[in-house]
């Protein structure tokens, strides 16, 4: 009989080893899955993990990694602060959309003014849009005790309607011959988030790195970060320590909303270029996985965001080159999360083989 036994304290070695083991287990079982589909497993794994980084066309894929990874990391960092405190913002996708809309709106309001302050104002607008959208579940929770999971999630669908309405109405390109969608900000130099387009470098990448450092310092060196961790570990002890739960909810939801809004703004002012009906592609939801894959640790999230971007891009290559079905790629990504969460158990528990005595 296998018995799980709680460790006296979490094992540091295991908490470092489990992500690596999870990736290895995913490769093995993913390989089996691909083999069952009649593909060469080694080739499939190589296509997903190796080709985007070091393959023949890596010069094209590497910038893509930054473009895909940056919004994931930026959003996941914000989410992780709340998740650590047990405050569940599931609506980052909505905050991402609102940030993109408000940020783009600020830029479009100045069009075609060419001034240095246009882009900084857009950044502020984007952060503010995401923040306001996250304040709705925050204030409802503090004031009326509503469930922030439900409210923030439902607001995603409101934001999507808003996005459709904006691309068809208020923000529609006046010179767009009636097609839905705003002006393309890539054609408006003062409102552009690219630093070096060919390298995939835009201000969102820089913001993601700054956010990682900021979160690391906050969590490890600052009282507020300590209170966030304390609230997640032991809410009563946190109150005893003097944490004001309402203020913490407002802070955590606010900062995750603002970061998601920023991610939206950088996306719309760079890789996407314009507000369109199908602007959002699920970064806000994938970031939840990234946050957990990185075990809510800033550096872990940075690595996880990279890994997630890798499986996306590698998955696309595998689809086009090897003809793997999209569903198989999704199963593969699901396996990664599954193995990580399952192996996570070993951080806090050890497995013992228990021999049952004959009575």
């Amino acid at each position: 009989m296998i018995v799980l036994e709680k460790r006296p304290q979490p094992s540091r070695n295991w908490s470092l080893a489990t992500p690596v083991l999870a990736v290895l287990a995913t490769m093995i079982f993913g390989g089996l899955l691909f083999a069952a589909l009649g593909k060469n497993p080694v080739e499939a794994i190589r296509t997903i993990f190796w080709d985007p980084l070091f393959g023949e066309f890596a010069f094209y894929y590497r910038p893509q990694l930054l473009v895909k990874g940056a919004p994931l990391v930026l959003i996941a960092i914000g989410l992780s602060l709340g998740f650590k405190a047990g405050i569940w913002n599931i609506g980052a996708e909505g905050q991402y959309i609102m940030g993109a809309i408000t940020g783009a709106a600020v830029g479009l309001a100045f069009y075609p003014l060419d001034a240095w302050y246009v882009f900084p104002l857009m950044v502020l607008g984007g952060a503010l849009g995401g923040w306001v959208w996250a304040m709705i579940p925050a204030i409802l929770k503090v004031r009326f005790g509503t469930n922030e999971i439900l409210v923030s999630l439902m607001l995603v669908y409101v934001a999507e309607q808003m996005l459709a309405s904006m691309s068809l109405g208020l923000l529609r390109n006046p010179e767009g011959h009636g097609f839905p969608g705003s002006r393309n900000l890539n054609d408006y130099a003062a409102a552009n988030s690219w630093i070096h387009q060919n390298a995939g470098l835009h201000w969102g990448v820089a913001a993601a790195l700054i956010a990682v450092i900021f979160a690391y310092v906050l969590l490890n060196r600052h009282m507020l970060g300590f209170h966030i961790r304390l609230t997640g570990e032991a809410p009563r002890a946190a109150r005893f320590a003097g944490v004001n739960p309402a203020r913490l909810i407002l802070f955590c939801l606010g900062i995750s909303g603002a970061l998601a809004g920023l991610a939206g703004l950088f996306e719309v002012a760079g890789p996407a270029g314009q507000i369109t009906i199908d602007f959002n592609i699920g970064y806000g939801f994938t970031a939840i996985i990234v946050a957990f894959l990185g075990r809510l640790h800033p550096v872990g999230i940075l690595l996880a965001g990279g890994l997630m971007a890798l499986t996306y891009i590698g998955g696309e290559i595998a689809q086009s080159q090897l003809g793997l079905p999209a569903a198989a790629i999704q199963v593969f990504q699901g396996m990664l999360l599954f193995f990580l969460l399952a192996l996570d158990l070993l951080t806090n528990f050890r497995i013992r083989l228990h021999k049952k005595e004959a009575a």
Binding site: E5, P8, Q9, P10, R221, H222, M223, L224, F226, R229, L230, E233, A234, R236, A237, A238, R239, F240, A241, G242, N244, E357, A359
Partner: protein, 505 residues
């Protein structure tokens, strides 16, 4: 000598890193009240868990009426006539007495028959109890009756009682003892676990003393002094705390007209509390658990806010200030629940030192944390309070209850408080650690701090407090000087027998 009811022979049980029981042997005779005595962590709980089938021994055998006895689970133990009343009740507040009892039965009879059986058994043993009352409304003593009756319905041959008097007033203890004597006279053996020596001397026929998992001696309690038993239990001579003569100063903590609504459905509301504590004084607050102790601590720590004037610290109204502001002013508290309230279980001792120490020990500057200083503070607590742990980077949950308690009390004492409020400072702590904690509290008072000690351990309160008051159903009795108080007076301040009828046997 007649053959014993239950004979334990060489029982051994080891957990990873600790031997809970090592080669323990003793016999329990039919109709005997047998005391199992030992400090916390001596292995009493593990031993009775083996008898009750919750844990299987690694080695050794048990004989019940001469037959091999190896219960695989509590159900098997119950089938063999062994019942147990746990220290912590497993009752559902929202259900009534009969429903609670039915839940624990294999094949519960119809509710009306069960209620009749409950009435019958409860009256036979002098434990009056209405089967249709909701458990949430019962006092601790009455809840214990529910547990006892649940056991008696199985007609046990051996009844195991784990620290049964820790939640009772002295009057309630008397009622319980009458019941146990009646059971004994009918031939039921009782295994009575306790560390309260006077009780054991009054009740038990025979005592087995455990220390560090081993049987270190047996005695006839009535013929042995409490002091001898204590020394057998601890393995060394005990130092009673010393109290220095001291002058009382100004009023440091002043509570007047404090009323707070109950925080939850089964919480207790506080009604019009008045008390003052002067510098250098220890005020003991007794009372059975659940009569407002947690709420009182919350009000003093700042977790529950009140009108500003209800709580005054050195004359300043602080009732509306949160925990951090109160710490800054010198009002420190140590809650009862160590894991999850006083300390975060999965965090290190350094982090837990930061938890309350940041303000007064200057462990932060402008919001940024000084981890090196926090570590130094944690090390100082560990050293000054003899906390047994490999180091400050260990998680709080890896410490034993007594060691964590020393850490929690030490953390507050070393912050040089003007007023210290402790709730159950020695609950679940072994005798030597408890003595150290009490000494620390007295030393603090000797240096001019005002101390409020909330506790259910009356001996402790008599030992350390200058004045005594009791919480009963959210009301506080008028504090009285401890010197000269009799146990009867204390019992009445605590609410007497809470309206429980005395056993008529």
């Amino acid at each position: 000598m007649t053959s014993p009811l239950l004979s334990l022979q060489g029982l051994t049980k080891a957990y990873p890193g600790v031997v809970a029981n090592s080669n323990v042997s003793f016999d329990i005779a039919t109709g005997q009240v047998h005391a199992l005595l030992g400090e916390n962590g001596a292995g009493k709980s593990t031993l009775v868990k083996m008898i009750y089938g919750l844990v299987q021994p690694d080695n050794g055998v048990m004989l019940l009426n001469g037959q091999p006895y190896a219960p695989a689970e509590p159900r098997a133990a119950r089938a063999d006539g062994i019942a147990m009343v746990f220290q912590h009740f497993s009752l559902f507040d929202a259900l009534n007495v009969a429903e609670n009892i039915a839940l624990g039965m294999e094949r519960p009879p119809a509710m009306r028959d069960l209620a009749a059986r409950i009435r019958e058994v409860s009256e036979t043993y002098g434990l009056p109890l209405d089967p249709y009352r909701t458990v949430g409304d019962l006092s601790a003593g009455e809840r214990q009756r529910v547990e006892i009756i649940r056991c008696l319905l199985q007609d046990p041959k051996l009844l195991i009682m784990d620290e049964p008097t820790s939640v009772l007033t002295p009057q309630e203890v008397d009622i319980l003892f009458e019941t146990l004597r009646k059971l004994k006279s009918e031939g039921t053996a009782i295994l009575y676990i306790s560390h309260k020596l006077e009780e054991i001397r009054a009740l038990c026929d025979h005592a087995t003393v455990l220390r560090l998992g081993e049987n270190v001696g047996e005695c006839i309690p009535a013929e042995t002094s409490a002091r001898d038993m204590a020394e057998l239990m601890v393995g060394s001579t005990l130092q009673p705390p010393e109290r220095a003569e001291r002058d009382l100063g100004e009023v440091a903590l002043d509570i007047s007209g404090l009323s707070v609504p109950a925080p939850g459905e089964f919480g207790t509301s506080l009604n019009n509390l008045h008390m003052t504590v002067r510098q250098g004084e220890v005020l003991g607050i007794g009372g059975v658990a659940g009569n407002g102790q947690d709420e009182l601590l919350g009000v003093l720590s700042g977790e529950i806010l009140t009108l500003p004037e209800a709580v005054r610290l050195n004359g300043q109204a602080v009732g509306n200030l949160g925990p951090t502001a109160r710490r800054r002013l010198g009002l420190l508290t140590a809650p009862e629940e160590r894991l999850g309230h006083a300390a975060a279980p999965d965090m290190t001792l350094t982090e837990n030192a930061m938890l309350t120490g940041s303000v007064r020990r200057r462990l932060e500057s402008r919001g940024f944390l000084r981890w090196r200083d926090a570590r130094g503070f944690a090390e100082k607590i560990i050293q000054d309070f003899d906390v047994r742990t490999p180091g400050p980077e260990n998680a709080a949950r890896s410490l034993s209850g007594g060691n964590l308690q020393k850490f929690v009390i030490g953390r507050e004492v070393l912050q040089d408080p003007q007023v210290l409020v402790v709730n159950q400072p020695t609950w679940g702590v072994d005798a030597s650690a408890a003595a150290a904690i009490r000494q620390a509290i007295l030393d603090l008072a000797a240096h001019g701090a005002a101390v409020v000690c909330i506790s259910q351990d009356l001996d402790e309160l008599m030992e350390i407090s200058d004045r005594f008051a009791a919480l009963n159903e959210g009301r506080l009795s008028t504090p009285r000087d401890t010197a000269g108080l009799t146990i009867d007076e204390i019992g009445l301040m605590m609410g007497g027998a809470h309206g429980m009828e005395v056993a008529h046997v």
